[in-house]
């Protein structure tokens, strides 16, 4: 196979775009798509100070790398869940990238805040590990922006993440979640930061290829508590469809975005939005779920971040 742009031997075949590209031209092709996504959906303004949520995986590290390369100078936030081995190994990859980019990374240690790793935290509050993890991550990622003056939080969600979530929401007709996914979620006042997903239209395969070509050293292993079994089944099904009908995933997600736009902004679910009396985070009661968690553990902990420059 030859590169469609320069005729040299191709390094990747992109069946959904009916093209094959060499390393150099593929990198340009993918970066252009991300730039276009950032422009079209107005993800980042010139005055913005973006920060990237990094886990050590291929998506977040590639996103951090690419954003800085495209001129969106950004620092990183890493949440240390206190999982033996796994957390240290992923933090190491994050630090490596911070060194490469010469950017700062903030580190929040769950163990410092709650004296337990995420599995222990989940056990105390009798919730699944992934659900406790989600609560803490959402809160801390928002909090670092508020405390340190970042105006946009970027996450590495990719096309396959979005397509599989959408697939699940459609299968079970989860109307309350169906229209919530978007490339951008606007912030609210000074308490909720704007969230963006610049890789919304980039497949996992493309991002992994980018990481390999750029020599980005990421963690392959999955979180040992990952409860993504259902997600993996959806991804598998979608990839099987993709194999026989290339381009299905991107059409599915682009079609969703088009319908979302046509649908317009319907009013929220009617519940009055309030703010946590203690920290100001949006909540539906007096206290947000993170402050509730701190109380449950009886800590007077004030959220702190380690900085690694």
């Amino acid at each position: 196979m030859k590169c469609r742009v320069c005729g040299k031997p191709a390094n990747i075949n992109l069946r959904s775009y009916k093209t094959a590209l060499c390393e150099e031209d593929f990198i340009a092709f993918l970066e252009k798509r991300v730039s276009a996504t950032i422009g079209k959906y107005r993800l980042i303004d010139e005055a913005d100070r973006p920060i990237v949520a990094v886990s050590g995986g291929k998506d977040s590290l590639s996103l951090w790398y690419m954003m800085n390369k495209l001129g969106y100078v950004s620092d990183g936030i890493y949440i240390d869940l206190g999982i033996e081995g796994y957390s240290e190994r992923s933090l190491e990859k994050v630090r490596q990238m911070a060194d490469t980019l010469r950017r700062r990374v903030y580190v929040f240690h769950v163990r410092n805040a709650l004296q337990k790793g995420i599995d222990g935290v989940a056990r105390v509050i009798r919730r699944p590990t992934c659900s406790a993890c989600g609560t803490i991550k959402r809160y801390i990622m928002n909090r670092v922006c508020i405390d340190k003056g970042y105006t946009v939080l970027a996450t590495g969600h990719n096309l396959d993440d979005e397509a599989s979530a959408l697939f699940g929401n459609v299968l079970y007709w989860k109307r309350e979640y169906l229209w919530k996914k978007n490339v951008v979620l606007e912030g609210r006042g000074e308490h909720l930061v704007k969230k963006i997903k610049p890789f919304f239209l980039c497949s996992e395969r493309e991002i992994a290829a980018y990481a390999i070509m750029k020599g980005i050293d990421y963690i392959y292993e999955e979180c040992p508590y990952s409860e993504g079994a259902k997600t993996l089944v959806y991804k598998e099904m979608l990839n099987r469809i993709e194999e026989s009908s290339p381009g299905t995933k991107i059409m599915f997600v682009k079609g969703y975005l088009k319908m979302l736009k046509e649908k317009g902004d319907e009013k929220e679910d009617g519940r009055e939005s309030r703010y946590c009396l203690r920290c100001g985070y949006p909540t539906f009661s007096d206290k947000c779920s993170f402050c509730w968690l701190l109380d449950k553990f009886g800590t007077e902990y004030d959220v702190e971040f380690d900085q690694y420059n």
């Binding site: 990747i12 392959y220 194999e243």
Partner: protein, 116 residues
Amino acid sequence: MLVYLTLNVEHRTLNRFPLTPNGFFDIRYTNYDILIADSPDALYNISFICYELAMKVECEGNAYSFEKPMLASKLLEQLSLSRETHLVVVNGKLVTEDHRIDRDDEVKLIRVVSGG
């Protein structure tokens, strides 16, 4: 490069063993010494053939060996992997499905799917 030794008895290949780095293999871990001791006649029909494998393939911590060179697409097929979920990296470079993998090539298959 991996060097293998096959043990042939009565013109049948009984098994093959990877050689240790200094060129030995340990017959204590096989049962064939018993076979040899029980039937001295068979000794005449025992032969060892030494050969090199064409390629070494690494995939999610597992190592596979293939004796013949083949196309990247064929390799994925042999391991029942989809081109949508696995990338083929040969000597550190990504290749397309129609790439012919040669002897001595070092191959890595990278799974691109991660859990939610």
